[in-house]
């Protein structure tokens, strides 16, 4: 323990290895540990499209990046301070993103001839002295050390080698002066009935930890103080479970049964996996035969007076569009989750993108307006899901929620709310007729909202469907004037929701000025970081982030008008920008990155500076 203890404000670590190397588990455990000691943090897991891509190859590399600190953290970080590379391919893929002067921890066993060849190295980088010029390089035979720690256990070699990720974790715990307690507990829980495996993991974790103490190589250890975060109770959360929790919370607060009709698709499936656990919350999950059945079962559930929800990703959303039109016509509450991924078509299924926005807003036949709201951080998924239910139920409309692969899988600390503090949701299922002879199914209140009348209610028998409805009565109507009226009503009804939404606020920076960076969705953290730094550097830049995309907040036009320039960064080829330019006729500029990865803080700073008036 005679090492120097150096304090850091924030650190970025990347764990990278083969998809079989267990790096995601290491990342998640380290994240939980980091959260528990009170750092702020952001994470970015990044895995291959194949279940087990070929060992040792570049496409087979699975990575987990975590950014944590004693200051506020908004992104998983642009570049790493520490790179753990379990094999040559992992080094090759990630070296460019490692800061000069950073730490490289390399598993020498992953740099044999086969690995070198598969990753396309002509020479072994372990032998490359220039590496040591730029980085602090630690060459450790992790595989061997792990094996040695459990040599006496009755385990096959494959199982033994599986535990090597724990060595890494133990060692990093040591390096950052952490107690491995939560992981020890996790191992106890996870391998309760598998004694030998449990023992192996425990031992290797400790071996990794002790390794730090015993070897001479490392001269420093680091510590990162807890962040000064608002007082409260926190947990760590990723986006998809947050969506699930938001839905369950909203169902409870609105006294509705939650029904989730869906079909598995990356990166949305985890919402199903999560919801399926909570049967004791009355959650009904229905794994349908396809996406169309997914949404149609949810519509059926909604007709029955339940909270019908469906979830998918881009290709699945494309399949749901016809039924989304039906939901618009039926004016039933329904929530549609779209966890975006890189398209078009099958595209890059495990990579992130924001390219379903226009499909969400416009991708239906006929004039078919539907509220669209977007989550922007992992924890915001909770609020946004909750808010979607509130809008759907209170305004009798399908609502589309956009998230993406980045926030779906990324983690952050979340000061979660108390159930009692959640906003109320006014869901009224009508129990009897008003003063009307026959039940008028398309009679509306002052907000253009019709009533929710469900089977089983005496006297309210009525029929709805996809043909144009007569105003008030809800009967089928082919009347031309009625059609125009109903098209306008449906649009007005959705626009009217803006009366109930918060006005658009400025997130960072002044209320007016030279440049407004207008974002939506998962770019939040990067924009926030970039703009905060630019402001600190003295630039006149502000940041506003849109949660409500349809309808736009009522004051959005005014907000935009207060700035000389508007920059819209998107992980697509320019989609929100089209809506903004059309609606407000301002010459907004886009910054677009379409690489399946988040926009980094530095890229954004660069983009702002390019637009900055000289």
């Amino acid at each position: 323990m005679n090492k120097v203890l150096e304090e850091k404000q924030s650190v970025v670590i990347k764990f990278a290895g083969d998809s079989g190397d267990g790096m995601q588990l290491v990342g998640t455990q380290f994240t939980n540990n980091t959260a528990l000691i009170g750092n702020d943090l952001g994470t970015f897991p990044d895995f291959p499209a194949e279940i087990r891509a070929p060992q040792g190859t570049i496409p087979g590399v699975s990575g987990f990046q975590i950014h944590f600190g004693s200051t506020e953290i908004y992104t998983p970080g642009d570049n790493c301070d520490v790179l753990v590379a379990m094999n040559a391919a992992a080094l090759k893929t990630n070296l460019a993103n490692t800061k000069r002067g950073g730490i490289l921890i390399l598993n020498t066993a992953g740099f044999d001839m086969k690995n070198l060849k598969l990753s396309g190295y002509d020479q072994n980088p372990l032998d490359d002295p220039t590496l040591d010029e730029s980085y602090s390089v630690y060459r450790i035979d992790i595989t061997k050390l792990a094996r040695e720690a459990i040599g006496d256990l009755e385990l096959g070699m494959r199982d033994k080698d599986r535990s090597k990720n724990m060595f890494v974790l133990g060692f990093i715990y040591w390096l950052y002066s952490r107690s491995p307690e939560n992981t020890l507990q996790y191992i106890e829980r996870a391998f309760k009935s598998k004694e030998i495996i449990r023992e192996a993991n425990l031992r290797v974790l400790k071996a990794g930890y002790n390794y730090g103490d015993t070897i001479e190589a490392f001269t420093s250890r680091y510590t990162v103080k807890p962040a000064k975060m608002p007082a409260g109770t926190y947990r760590s959360i990723t986006g998809n479970p947050a969506l699930a929790l938001g839905l369950i919370a909203a169902a409870q607060k609105s006294n509705l049964k939650l029904f989730y009709g869906t079909y598995p698709i990356t990166p949305a499936s985890d919402v199903l996996h999560e919801l399926a656990k909570y049967k004791n919350f009355g959650v009904r999950t229905f794994q349908a035969e396809d996406e169309i059945a997914g949404i149609c079962t949810a519509i059926g559930a909604a007709f029955g007076g339940n909270l019908g929800v469906t979830g998918t990703s881009g290709p699945g959303l494309a399949l749901k569009t016809e039924a989304m039109g039906l939901a618009v016509m039926l004016e039933l509450p329904l929530v549609i989750l779209d966890i975006q991924r890189a398209g078009p078509s099958t595209g890059l299924p495990t990579k992130t993108e924001q390219s379903d926005l226009l499909q969400a807003v416009y991708g239906r036949n006929g004039e078919c307006p539907m509220p669209v709201i977007a989550a922007y951080t992992p924890s915001s998924c909770f609020e946004v899901a909750y808010e979607a239910v509130k809008i759907a139920v209170e305004h009798m409309t399908p609502v589309l929620v956009l998230s993406d692969g980045y926030i779906a899988n990324g983690a952050e600390p979340w000061r979660f709310p108390k159930a009692a503090d959640l906003p109320t949701i006014q869901s009224e299922i009508v129990k009897s007729k008003e003063n009307e002879e026959k039940f008028m199914s398309y009679l509306r209140d002052e907000n253009l909202v019709r009533r929710w009348a469900v089977p089983g209610t005496q006297g309210l028998e009525h029929r709805i469907g996809g043909l144009e409805k007569e105003d008030i009565s809800g009967n089928v109507s082919y009347d031309p004037d009625n059609h125009e009226k109903m098209v306008k009503i449906r649009e007005a009804k959705v626009e009217k929701i803006a009366d109930f939404l918060p006005l658009q606020a400025i997130d960072s920076g002044k209320e007016s000025g030279k440049i407004l960076v207008l974002g939506w969705g998962s770019t939040y953290g990067s924009i926030k970081s970039a703009v905060t730094e630019l402001i600190e550097e003295g630039y006149d830049v502000s940041h506003a982030h849109l949660t409500y995309i349809k309808p736009f907040p009522k004051n959005l036009g005014e907000v935009l008008d207060r700035f000389e320039h508007v920059l819209i960064p998107e992980i697509n080829n320019g989609q929100l920008i089209k809506l903004i330019r059309d609606r407000y006729l301002i010459d907004a500029k886009g910054y677009n990155k379409i690489k399946g990865t988040p926009i980094t803080k530095n890229e954004l700073k660069q983009a702002v500076l390019e637009l900055y008036p000289k």
Partner: protein, 354 residues
């Protein structure tokens, strides 16, 4: 919610009656029926309205869900809850409704196009899941609403709007399709036999699990007479085989013909001389192997000139999806207790900053 109610007439108190006291006309909606004069759909509607007062379900608990097609207009004409959904998806909508509202009596009305062309997959999955929904497939062997294209049940070589040189698709046999999808109740009836149809509708209702009732329906505009050989007096006794549970398979002008099973091979026999009623194939709804022979015998043994079967071919029992779903909810709630939202939101690991 404030409602601007434009209709200010006196409110009629909702009289609470059981359906037993209701009449068929109480199930008629105010919407004008808009099928072509002479369409077989009228009869099906009439038989439905006739049996509904007697099935022992409150009107408020009955729901009709349809797709798109002439047949799918059905829900508009019944004063129950109803949804005219989109093409081919009624089975999926009904699945979601039944899974969350198991106490409702849910009927799906679909056509040969709606239910077997665009909607074939949802139909198959509904059947295997055995959700307790009553499916009425109006088979007119044509696309009526879109004005006369052939359908997946049209006979080979059909000349229709889309096949001026004759269709080349081999048709589905709807009952065989339901069989292959592990359906638990499979039956057939026709628009022009009101008594039989009423009985089949009742049995369809009674079955717990997905009931699949194919109803031959005459489209007098685009496929007139497709089933006349079965529905019209002159030929009916020769061409139809009405099967009943526990009864021998008998048909013919004077109920003089019967069907025997020689191993797995059906044959038509004359009743009286060589064979008595006891020698005939005795219908057993619970026997899936026999049901399959019944369903497919005409197409597999074309040379035998076998009659077309009507009635309940198969009725077996298997737990329904919605009951299993409720069971899981109850079990989980018993085991873990009713979910505590605050605990759920907090998760397993929290920390507090003061």
């Amino acid at each position: 919610m404030k409602i601007q109610a434009p209709v200010k007439k006196a409110v009629q108190a909702d009289v609470v009656v059981t359906n037993g006291k209701l009449l068929p006309k109480d199930f008629a909606s105010t919407q004008e029926v808009r099928w072509c004069p002479g369409c077989g759909d009228y009869s099906i509607l009439k038989q439905m309205q006739t049996i509904l007062p007697d099935i022992g379900v409150d009107k408020k608990d009955i729901v009709f869900i349809s797709g798109i097609g002439c047949s799918s207009r059905f829900p508009y004409y019944l004063d129950t809850f109803g949804m005219h959904s989109i093409h081919g998806r009624a089975t999926a909508v009904a699945s979601g409704l039944k899974a969350t509202r198991p106490e409702l009596s849910i009927w799906v009305v679909t056509g040969d196009g709606d239910g077997l062309s665009i909607g074939g997959n949802h139909m198959a999955h509904l059947l295997r899941r055995n959700i307790d929904v009553n499916v009425l497939l109006f088979n007119n062997e044509i696309y009526g609403l879109t004005k006369g294209q052939y359908s997946p049940t049209s006979k080979p070589n059909s000349i229709t709007k889309s096949t001026p040189f004759g269709s080349i698709d081999h048709p589905f046999e709807p009952a065989a399709f339901a069989m292959g999808s592990n359906g638990t109740f499979i039956a057939r009836s026709m628009d022009r036999d009101p008594k039989h149809l009423q009985e089949m509708l009742k049995k369809t209702h009674e079955h717990k699990g997905t009931s699949f009732l194919e109803i031959y329906q005459n489209c007098n505009i685009f496929n007139d007479g497709a089933f006349f050989s079965y529905s019209e007096k002159e030929s009916k006794k020769q061409t139809c085989l009405f099967v009943e549970q526990g009864k021998p398979l008998v048909f013919g002008q004077d109920d003089d013909l019967g069907i025997r099973l020689d191993g797995i091979q059906p044959e038509i026999v004359k009743i009286g001389e060589q064979y008595s009623l006891d020698d005939l194939w005795i219908h057993d709804e619970s026997d899936a192997i026999k049901a399959n022979i019944l369903i497919r015998m005409e197409s597999l043994f074309p040379a035998l000139n076998l009659p077309r079967p009507f009635g309940v071919f198969l009725k077996t029992s298997r737990p329904t999806y919605e009951v299993l779903m409720e069971d899981q909810i109850i079990t989980a709630t018993t085991r873990y207790g009713k979910g505590d939202l605050d605990a759920l939101i907090a998760g397993n690991e929290t920390w507090t900053i003061l």
